[in-house]
């Protein structure tokens, strides 16, 4: 079988990951445009749609087991403290309260890359785990938490990133200051000497919270020494490994299942402490345990998009050629190791031979950062595309012309070409959709109280996926097909798209295809669902398996009909003799003849092409109105033009883009975690105070896909779409606001008070 173990490079959430894995070496004919296809690319309805609209879909939060008990978690009320004394005896006396675990009665389990423990008596942020109680009901478990007595040694803290940067980090968390990240390219002083003009500014972005609608939760059950974990996760294999390592049990003694989940956006990309706590309690009690976080905990303890304080400077010639750029930023990772860097777009988006980058992660006494839909890029593009616009206006150039003037034909970090790049096409399609010519040639030059403006920003992301990623097919009696893979559908439509790929190749109707994902006990390995890599990694594995299944069916038909294989063709899900088309077999006939209940086939993702890098590209354009008396911003329209390779399903694509753009809009205008600096307490811990957008915040949105397929990236031609959708929205809105009022707001979210202050100061 043409399979091989190869070294491959993939970029996941901004990290370059070298993998050695099994790949398919089969080369398949490229599909061409979607118009040539029957199922892929069509607006096929979700195959899991019935379950979801009927209310019968069982999410992790809905998992109810016999004899199940409930667990809730006690969290630090203080931003920084050490536990002096903890007493759980009162809690344990109440009828119905079954168990309480703390650092005192559990083994040490390493957490956060060995920087801390599952229960660490050194509490580094408001929300750090102190104890976990199990009881017959969730209310009783919560009552238990209130009865736990804790005395604290309060310690100095900082929740303001700038102040934390100026303090001794070891006093705040006990951790050393993270190393400064630096990157240099070219001859910086030469770049400066070649320039005629320069612009410089500092941009800040807030901490924002994922807030998926389903809270983080697990239900766990032991059966002898075997543990089954239902978890609301984007990464079943990561959870399996973390749970097995934590409990020091074999990996194949842990099975992680996730069928349906209510969103994640990155917050569910890693194993949670709560899952391990539930497993410990379940083992001690001999009963299944359901554990969940409430909305307050969701806003404290399961990650966030870190803030950023980015100072950018651009030097260039009067003709628009950028000759040098510098970038200096810092951002808070929270109280435990994580990354907060936002400089990737700066290094690659626009052509510039001479650049300098410094990026500093900072520990503060607040919830730890986590990947959040296009980590780094959302912050980075806002700052980068703001300063690029400033430079364009300074030299009197159309902002799109400036971007075209500095168009990067190759990836400047790796110095290799892209598998595809249709950013120019995105610029022109988006400009047309928004009526680019109607923008104010001089920002702020419109008349009246309500001022209108148009702005845009560019997008770059990875999302080409890569190996290892595997899929299995099971073809059964009657011609029914099951596609099995160890990836997971986090709501994006993976179930449906994988079925479409198999349906395309094997020409089996969608109704006869079942897809099983999200079960480490069943599916072969496939990557976690993050980085917009799921479809670009797994769909090619499904195509590989389907093509091989097709060959198997042809060889079976040859044996049955006693015709050589080369005299047989596969036609519309039937296998027929070329010479005598009356002679044919259906898939069901073949299975019957073979007396097999099932035919099996494995498939794998091929290696990524050597000498290329894969990125998705795009541009979003915003049309806004700013009320200069109230400061209120109304987004009239967002036009989004993107190059994402092949669109696999028009319906799920629209969902992804609309949802991503709305998240980007609220990042630009509404969302922000607020902490009281004197107490270290987060003040907006519910969805009333932490605003996520409602239906009333939705602008007009136009989605234009400028790509048909990326034939180099993989055998289905797809690049990921989940993250591209959110990346340029805030930058486009910020530039549109500038175009409307002629004053730049350099800090997100752009709230009415900031608008009024800026206008007032300017006049």
């Amino acid at each position: 079988m043409p399979q091989k173990i190869v070294k491959s490079k993939i970029i996941f959430e901004g990290e370059i990951v070298e993998t050695i894995g099994e790949v398919s070496t089969e080369e398949y004919e490229r599909w061409g445009a979607n118009e040539n296809l029957k199922v892929v690319g069509k607006p096929v309805s979700r195959i899991d749609g019935y379950d979801k609209v009927s209310g019968s879909a069982v999410y992790t939060f809905d998992k109810i087991l016999q004899r199940m008990v409930y667990a809730r978690t006690l969290r630090s009320p203080l931003p920084h403290a050490k536990i002096k004394r903890i007493d759980i005896s009162k809690a344990l006396k109440v009828n119905g309260i079954l168990d309480v675990i703390t650092f005192q009665n559990t083994e040490d389990i390493d957490w956060y890359w060995n920087s801390s423990k599952l229960f660490d008596p050194h509490l580094r942020y408001q929300g750090d785990e102190i104890a976990c109680a199990a009881a017959e009901t969730a209310e009783l478990a919560e009552q238990a938490l209130k009865l736990i007595e804790v005395d604290y040694d309060e310690l100095p803290f900082a929740v303001n990133t700038k102040k934390a940067l100026e303090s001794d980090p070891e006093k705040l968390t006990g951790f050393k200051k993270p190393d400064l990240f630096t990157y240099d390219r070219g001859d910086f002083s030469k770049g400066i000497s070649e320039s005629d003009e320069s612009v410089e500014d500092t941009f800040t972005t807030p901490v924002v919270i994922h807030n998926p609608t389903e809270v983080h939760c697990s239900t766990v059950a032991w059966d002898g020494g075997k543990l089954t974990v239902w978890d609301s996760t984007q990464a079943i294999f990561s959870v399996r490994n973390a749970v097995a390592d934590s409990l020091k049990i074999n990996i194949n003694d842990v099975r992680v299942i996730k069928k349906y989940m209510g969103g994640g956006f990155g917050s569910k990309l890693e194993a949670g402490k709560y899952t391990v706590m539930a497993a410990l309690l379940a083992r001690r009690l001999g009963r299944p345990v359901k554990i969940y976080l409430d909305r307050r905990e969701m806003n404290l303890a399961v990650g966030n998009r870190p803030d950023s304080h980015q100072t950018l400077k651009v030097w260039g010639k009067r003709d628009g050629t950028i000759t040098a750029m510098s970038y200096k930023s810092f951002g808070a990772v929270g109280a435990y190791p994580q990354g907060a860097a936002a400089n990737w777009p700066f290094r690659t988006m626009y052509k510039c031979p001479n650049i300098k980058v410094e990026d500093q992660n900072v520990f503060i006494n607040a919830g730890r950062a986590r990947a959040f839909r296009a980590p780094g890029h959302v912050q980075g593009v806002f700052a980068l595309d703001s300063i690029i616009d400033d430079f364009a206006y300074k030299i009197g150039m159309d902002p799109i012309d400036l971007r075209l003037k500095n168009y990067a034909e190759v990836d400047q970090v790796f110095n290799v070409p892209y598998t595809s790049k249709l950013l120019k096409e995105a610029y022109s399609a988006g400009a047309q959709a928004i009526n680019w010519d109607l923008r104010n040639k001089i920002p702020g030059s419109g008349n009246g109280v309500i001022k209108r403006g148009i702005g845009m920003a560019s997008q770059i992301w990875w999302g080409g996926g890569g190996p290892p990623a595997h899929a299995m097919l099971k073809l059964e009696r009657g011609g029914y097909l099951t596609v099995i893979s160890g990836t997971q559908d986090i709501g994006t439509g993976t179930y449906t798209i994988l079925a479409q790929v198999a349906a395309e190749i094997l020409e089996i109707p969608m109704e006869k295809i079942e897809v099983i994902l999200g079960d480490t006990g069943v599916g072969p390995y496939a990557p976690s669902s993050g980085g917009s890599q799921t479809i670009a990694s797994v769909a090619p594995a499904v195509r590989d398996a389907s093509e091989k299944m097709k060959s198997k069916l042809i060889s079976a038909a040859a044996a049955i009909m006693e015709i050589p294989e080369d005299k047989i063709k596969y036609n519309n899900g039937e296998i027929e003799s070329i010479e005598d088309p009356a002679k044919k077999l259906s898939i069901a006939d073949i299975l019957k003849e073979l007396r097999e209940e099932s035919l099996l086939m494995n498939g794998s993702r091929e290696a990524n092409p050597d000498g290329y890098t894969t990125n998705s590209f795009g541009a979003q354009f915003a049309d806004v109105s700013v009320d200069t008396e109230t400061g209120k911003i109304t987004v009239n329209k967002i036009a989004a033009a993107h190059d994402i390779g092949r669109p696999m399903n028009q319906k799920t694509l629209e969902n992804q883009f609309h949802g991503g753009i709305l998240q980007g809009l609220s990042y630009a205008l509404m969302e922000e975690r607020v902490i009281d600096e004197s107490t270290g307490q987060v003040v907006n811990l519910n969805m009333h105070d932490y605003k996520i957008p409602t239906v009333k915040d939705v602008p007009k949105i136009e989605i234009i896909i400028v790509s048909k397929s990326d034939d180099l990236v993989n055998n289905v031609g797809a690049k990921g779409i989940g993250e591209p959708a959110i990346i340029p929205t805030a930058g486009a809105i910020a530039n549109a606001v500038y175009n409307a009022i002629g004053v730049r707001i350099k800090s997100l979210p752009i709230t009415p008070d900031k608008v009024l202050n800026a206008i007032y100061k300017f006049n």
């Binding site: 607006p43 309805s45 979700r46 899991d48 749609g49 019935y50 379950d51 979801k52 609209v53 009927s54 209310g55 019968s56 879909a57 069982v58 999410y59 939060f61 809905d62 109810i64 209310e139 807030n211 998926p212 609608t213 389903e214 809270v215 349906y260 989940m261 209510g262 969103g263 956006f265 409430d294 909305r295 986090i490 709501g491 994006t492 439509g493 319906k651 799920t652 629209e654 969902n655 992804q656 883009f657 609309h658 949802g659 991503g660 753009i661 709305l662 998240q663 519910n686 969805m687 009333h688 996520i692 409602t694 239906v695 009333k696 939705v698 949105i701």
Partner: protein, 159 residues
């Protein structure tokens, strides 16, 4: 604790139960009847995931106690389909791609159902108003609005 006896109509069936006075309606429906289509997103009336119909009106079941429903009529998402056949709203949510992760979907459909009960021919603004208390973090709402618009026919009660 003194249990309270209640009698109510649940998705068309008359049921009797004894409830603990402190139990929330959402837990009662989910834990006693396995009606887990009613979701919990916040527990404090902010997300709309737990929306059900109580005597013809959409309410947040996380804010109501089970003992308050004595003598009343409850409709949950599971009661909307008729012998396996989806209600027009459910059909259109599917067809229009108004579902992504699906966690907000039952609450969203129930809010839309209640709107159409009271106002069979709503304008887009009224649709937006009716689902403004239902948060969706995935879809961007556009397809949800079109699914509801697509479901408008006068005389929904004849369905």
């Amino acid at each position: 604790m003194q249990m309270i006896a209640i009698e109510f109509n649940l998705n068309g069936i008359l049921v009797k139960a004894e409830v603990n006075p402190g139990v929330r309606l959402i837990d009662f429906l989910r834990d006693e009847y396995g009606l887990t289509g009613t979701k919990e997103g916040c527990g404090i009336g902010e997300c709309g995931a737990c929306t059900i119909i109580l005597d013809g009106k959409a309410v947040n079941s996380c804010l109501i106690l089970a003992c308050q429903i004595d003598g009343k009529e409850i409709l949950t998402i599971e009661g909307l389909a008729n012998s396996g056949e989806l209600h027009r709203l459910q059909e259109n949510f599917l067809k229009k791609g108004a579902v992504q992760c699906g966690f907000c979907t039952p609450g969203m459909i129930i809010s839309a159902y209640s709107l159409l009960l009271l106002n069979p021919n709503p304008a887009e603004q009224e649709i937006r108003e009716a689902i403004a208390g239902n948060l969706c973090r995935c879809t961007g709402y556009k397809q949800i609005i079109s699914a509801i618009e697509e479901s408008i026919v006068v005389n929904i009660e004849n369905d």
